[in-house]
């Protein structure tokens, strides 16, 4: 036990103290934070005003478009509730003037004004626009999505109102018809029902899934490297006079895992600090849907369980690979089959998140190498029956035990094999060995 702790401590300290770890751990949140916070700060600082000319032969239509453009963002109907505290930049203000009688000369004149910058946009409504539902918007930048979408919406509303009025609806009726409908997604499970919005529910499993995936991949490979290093520097021969191969392997996996955990804790803490900025950004991107994406307590409890199971499973496999090879280059070939189920999980995660109760999702959450990850995804989307969770954990634990048994044997023999790379027959032979 003393020796196990010493090994864990060494593996942990030797990594945490490196400059690379410090840089990566500290710079990553700064980088991500910068990416999230800076643009949102920049965008909030830039409330803009756009001078737009609406050209329409039909003055009623032209007026309707102008009314929509100048009024829509105050009522904020479709972009969502636009709560004042959300930190969103105000949508661009439109200063709209009307021009009747479209002609080629007018078009020339207006585009010239656009080029000079005295105008920001021209909405050109052809006389037959009501029928074709096609309108041209001239501007200097076609990538000004916010302005373009606002113009498009104003036109849609104006054209729709226009047509409905023609069919005899009163303006009030028209207004009622265009009021947006909000959908409250309510998740129902055994414990009752909890309000949860579609997108929020999707985003959370993705973030956590990615956390598991990255950690397993990066730190699993650290474990492998560490084995190769000890092997090639022959420290191993000295260590084996004091510790058993099993202790050595366990110490490595736990020590390196601790480094990964430290990193995640630091990142989560800084994530919480940057949260307001990130939240504002996510809010703008996704609208109000993310607002009540809350984490169920069961997910919070199960995340560490599946995280540890997933990491330990793959780290054990990587340790065995490290024991079989002599260099990082050689390891690359063995690494792929181990990384494959992991990639497989990532690829299938989307479909599992979309529908967590298909037979495919069920069997993936029971298959030893994919179960910790896929079962966690299922848990975070919709709570599967308790027996399934229990069975999945049991399978993971049992397969982890088996993997540790196999790997420690490969480790026991493989770490002292130098030079020749083993073939499958030899690896099988090792399992009977020592």
């Amino acid at each position: 036990m003393r020796n196990l702790l010493l090994i864990i401590a060494r593996e942990y300290l030797v990594r945490v103290r490196t400059r690379a770890f410090l840089l990566f751990t500290i710079l990553m949140p700064l980088f991500v934070g910068g990416e999230v916070v800076l643009p949102s700060k920049l965008m909030t600082r830039a409330p803009s005003e756009r001078r737009v000319v609406v050209v329409a032969a039909d003055p009623v239509l032209g007026n309707a478009v102008r009314a929509e453009l100048t009024a829509s963002h105050f009522s904020g109907e479709e972009i969502g509730a636009e709560p004042a505290e959300s930190g969103n930049p105000p949508p661009p203000q439109f200063e709209v003037s009307l021009q009747g009688a479209p002609s080629e000369a007018l078009r020339q004149q207006l585009t010239a004004a656009l080029r000079q910058g005295s105008l920001d946009g021209v909405v050109w409504i052809d006389p037959n626009a009501v029928a074709t539902r096609k309108v041209t918007y001239y501007s200097r930048s076609v990538s000004d999505f916010v302005a373009t979408s606002l113009v498009s919406r104003a036109l849609r509303m104006a054209l729709g109102q226009r047509q409905l009025t023609e069919h005899g609806f009163s303006p009030d009726q028209v207004k009622t018809l265009f009021t947006p409908v909000s959908v409250d997604a309510v998740r129902v499970d055994k414990q009752g029902s909890s309000p949860s919005n579609g997108l929020g529910a999707l985003l959370l499993p993705f973030v956590l899934l990615f956390a598991i995936y990255m950690t397993v991949l990066i730190y699993g490979i650290y474990v492998m490297r560490s084995v190769i290093e000890e092997k090639s520097s022959r420290v191993l021969e000295v260590l084996l006079g004091s510790v058993s191969p099993m202790q050595l392997m366990a110490g490595k996996i736990i020590g390196v895992g601790g480094v990964g955990l430290t990193q995640i804790v630091i990142w989560s803490a800084s994530g919480a600090l940057l949260g307001s900025g990130g939240y504002a950004m996510a809010h703008r991107l996704l609208g109000s849907t993310i607002q009540d994406a809350h984490i169920a307590p069961a997910v919070l409890i199960l995340f560490p369980v599946f995280f540890v199971l997933g990491y330990a499973t793959y780290a054990t496999l990587y340790a065995a690979i490290g024991a079989m090879v002599n260099s990082d280059e050689e390891a690359a070939q063995f690494q792929f089959p181990v990384t494959l189920p992991l990639l497989f999980c990532m690829l299938l995660a989307t479909s599992v998140i979309g529908d967590p109760n298909t037979p495919l999702a069920f069997w993936l959450s029971m298959f030893p190498l994919t179960s910790p990850i896929i079962m966690f995804v299922r848990v975070s989307v919709s709570m599967p029956p308790t027996w399934q969770i229990a069975l999945s954990i049991a399978i993971s634990v049992a397969s982890l035990y088996g993997l540790v048994w196999i790997s420690s044997r490969i480790y026991r023999v493989g770490i002292l094999m130098y030079g020749k790379r083993p073939n499958l027959a030899e690896i099988l032979k090792w399992l009977h060995y020592a």
């Binding site: 003393r2 010493l6 520097s233 021969e237 084996l240």
Partner: protein, 306 residues
């Protein structure tokens, strides 16, 4: 008599290649024991089994009179053939880590490590990384790692390789001092001058088998009676007389010859004096190197890779 270590009919094969073949040896307490042999004779393979890195296919290893188990190894110091240190860790950290694995407290380990580094003239390097050291310096650090927990029995695989003559001498003196303290030391080498100066007993292995073993003095004297060094002027055709001379080496200034079994040195001298002018006639003990070469040559079996 108590043995620190006993190998009994130990055999180890890697695939088809038999690295150690029914090797038996006993290492008495308090001795310096030399494990000799040409390259690839199975020295390192034997040593790895002595400290439980590999397990013999057959035969048994007994340490301190008991079957080998890992806890017993806390009383053993081991220096591997190649450097076994964490390259990117500092010297002192390496030493303290390895000593703590043997159950020494952190402070005590640090104190001893600094003392040893000072003694082997590495004091200034305590906080350097291992990879910054020369090969010889690393070897000295590795040696400190083997003795830091003050084991009663040390197994050193090629401890002198990579050392300059000064460091070599330093290490020899340290080994002799450890012996005076009552420690037992086994080391492998193919440097015969070191063996002659340090060892009480030796075991010569070739092709995995023990071909010569016992006390150094007995071995040398058993070979000693049949060697003659002869300095002369003129021709000596009697060198080719198989009834007197089994073989000879011409060193230019003199000839060293090996008497034929049963031949009388007096008769040889008488014959030689009749044919040539003899300037020197001396019965000599063979050097260990000759014994080594001769024994290895005479025990060469049919090459196993044929």
């Amino acid at each position: 008599m108590d043995f620190m270590l006993e190998l009994d009919c130990v055999t180890k094969a890697y695939d088809e290649f038999v690295a150690v073949d029914h090797l038996s040896l006993q290492i008495p307490e308090g001795e310096i024991f030399g494990l000799l042999g040409p390259n690839g004779a199975g020295k390192t393979s034997s040593i790895r089994m002595m400290i439980g890195i590999t397990v013999p296919d057959s035969g048994s290893v007994r340490l301190f009179g008991r079957p080998l188990t890992r806890p017993l190894l806390d009383g053993v110091g081991y220096l591997p053939e190649e450097r076994g240190l964490y390259k990117r860790m500092k010297i002192l950290e390496n030493l303290v880590f390895l000593a703590r694995l043997k159950g020494i407290g952190k402070q005590e380990a640090t104190r001893r490590a600094l003392q040893w580094l000072e003694r082997l003239e590495l004091g200034a390097w305590a906080h350097a990384k291992v990879e910054e050291l020369s090969k010889g310096m690393q070897q000295k650090v590795q040696f400190i790692a083997a003795v830091l927990h003050e084991p009663g029995f040390m197994i050193l695989d090629e401890p002198f390789s990579g050392l300059d003559p000064g460091s070599s001498l330093q290490l020899k003196n340290v080994l002799l001092e450890l012996k005076k303290q009552g420690k037992t030391i086994l080391f492998s080498t193919h440097r015969m001058d070191t063996v002659e100066r340090l060892c009480d007993s030796i075991c010569l292995v070739n092709q995995g088998r023990s071909v010569l073993r016992g006390g150094l003095r007995e071995i040398k004297s058993s070979y000693g009676r049949s060697r003659v060094q002869l300095e002369y002027e003129g021709e000596l055709p009697l060198l080719d007389d198989p009834s007197l001379v089994a073989g000879y080496n011409d060193f230019g200034n003199y000839v060293e010859l090996c008497l034929a079994p049963g031949a009388d040195p007096q008769q040889l001298l008488a014959c030689a004096m009749q044919r040539a002018k003899i300037r020197r006639f001396e019965m000599v003990e063979p050097s260990l190197e000759e014994i080594f070469l001769e024994t290895v040559e005479s025990t060469k079996a049919v090459p196993s890779h044929a």
